[in-house]
């Protein structure tokens, strides 16, 4: 974890040490660092409907709604198929095809078909989140040692007990790996919501690009990046709690 923070700090320092002239901005006496600090402390970033806290809440709202729906669809499918060991190849192939769908195109396509609103973005984000979770939970359930399954049957455990007390705990590291991949991807892609007129942190990126305001663009991108790293760390912690100590892998 400390490694992650170190790298982030190093990246920011590298960026901030650039003089403004070096990047072709008219020099107003401030480097990128100065412009960024100005942007971050400006009152507009802290009050009102376009402030950073509001944008962050919007962004997290997009992510959590999409993830909630995707979890409800993907986990039962992946875990169920892995448990019964049927239809897995089909599920994996469909999920892999899903990876080929460009989410940027899907967001715009849904927008053109459905119109302005949260629904088109939600559909695209859910579609993006499902494949990694299906694949990983299926593979995790499949990888459960048959000897362990048989032992659980011999001990007289019912099907549900075997599923929830034996197989799922063993598959948990991979199930969580899928959830982490999806969550971080959805958080990243939620920036595209701004492209079709919604809010979230993507607003700073899209508006900043359109208005040629580097401080806004870079500031917004930094916030998204930090948020993504924090989310990943949070989910890694959750995984640590959920995975039985006997199953934790080193590294």
């Amino acid at each position: 974890m400390s490694r992650y923070v170190l790298v982030l700090v190093a990246m920011m320092l590298g960026l901030l040490s650039l003089p403004a002239q070096a990047i072709g901005l008219e020099a107003d006496g401030l480097g990128v660092a100065g412009q960024l600090v100005d942007w971050f402390v400006a009152p507009a970033q802290w009050h009102g409907p376009t402030s950073l806290p509001t944008r962050i809440v919007e962004h997290l709202y997009y992510m959590t709604s999409a993830m909630a729906i995707a979890l409800l669809i993907a986990l039962p499918v992946g875990i169920g198929l892995g448990h019964w060991g049927r239809g897995g190849l089909l599920a994996i192939n469909v999920a892999n095809m899903g990876r080929a769908v460009p989410s940027f195109g899907l967001v715009i396509l849904m927008f053109l078909l459905v119109g302005f609103g949260f629904v088109p973005v939600l559909v695209a984000l859910v579609a993006l989140a499902i494949p990694p979770m299906v694949t990983n939970s299926y593979v995790g359930m499949q990888a459960v040692d048959p000897a362990v399954r048989t032992a659980a049957i011999a001990l007289g455990l019912s099907r549900w007990q075997r599923l929830f007390q034996v197989e799922l705990p063993i598959a948990m590291p991979l199930v969580m790996a899928g959830i982490r991949t999806s969550a971080v991807q959805v958080l990243s892609t939620a920036t595209l919501a701004a492209y079709v007129g919604l809010g979230g942190l993507g607003r700073y990126l899209i508006d900043g690009l359109a208005q040629q305001q580097l401080a806004q663009v870079v500031g917004g991108a930094l916030v998204v990046a930090v948020l993504a790293v924090l989310l990943e760390a949070l989910l890694a912690g959750l995984q640590h709690l959920l995975v039985s100590p006997g199953l934790r892998r080193e590294g």
């Binding site: 992650y4 080929a100 940027f104 195109g105 899907l106 958080l187 998204v224």
Partner: protein, 215 residues
Amino acid sequence: MSLVQWDWVARHGGEIGAQLGQHVLLTGLALGFGLLIAFPLALAAVRWPRFYGPSLGLTGILFTVPSLALFILLIPFTGLSIATSLIGLTIYTLLILFRNIVEGLRGVPADVSEAAKALGYSRGRRLVQVELPIALPVIMAGVRIAAVTTIGMVTVTALIGQGGLGQLFITGFTLHFTTPLLVGFVLSIALAVSVDLLLAGLLWWLTPWQRGRAT
């Protein structure tokens, strides 16, 4: 109004072809650079295992940074140029390729490497003639994931003025016109699927000893 107006497609065939070409070019270059960088890193990580954790951490954190944010964070350094999208895309391929090359090489059974050593293979020959072929399925799995992911991600670089087929998405959005969007969308998926199949075929061709085994 129909979703696709074929006469528009016919009139813009040249433009569509050019964007498809740029898409393939960006993907190919990103994968090429990714392999060029990931390979020596992976060899170093296999030889000096202490190096593996930190490298995985570094590439992992770069992978976590959202693509659009990363492209934008590169703008101060490289401007709105092809270099920006290329560097960003390459960074994304790195983690997948690096991890798969290392895992592939680590998965080579120790007795096989020992046997090659006992037969008098030098380190380099052992790597090229024994270890790499055995690691190839895992490495190729990484290349396939990286290729498919990159093809999707290239479309996002349209927002910073590159993007191949992503430019058709923007045209569709700006004009509120589904035809270019769908053309780009379908071509992008078709490109990803055919590249994936092509790479799977390449692996099949390169590893004759694996055929007939369950994958």
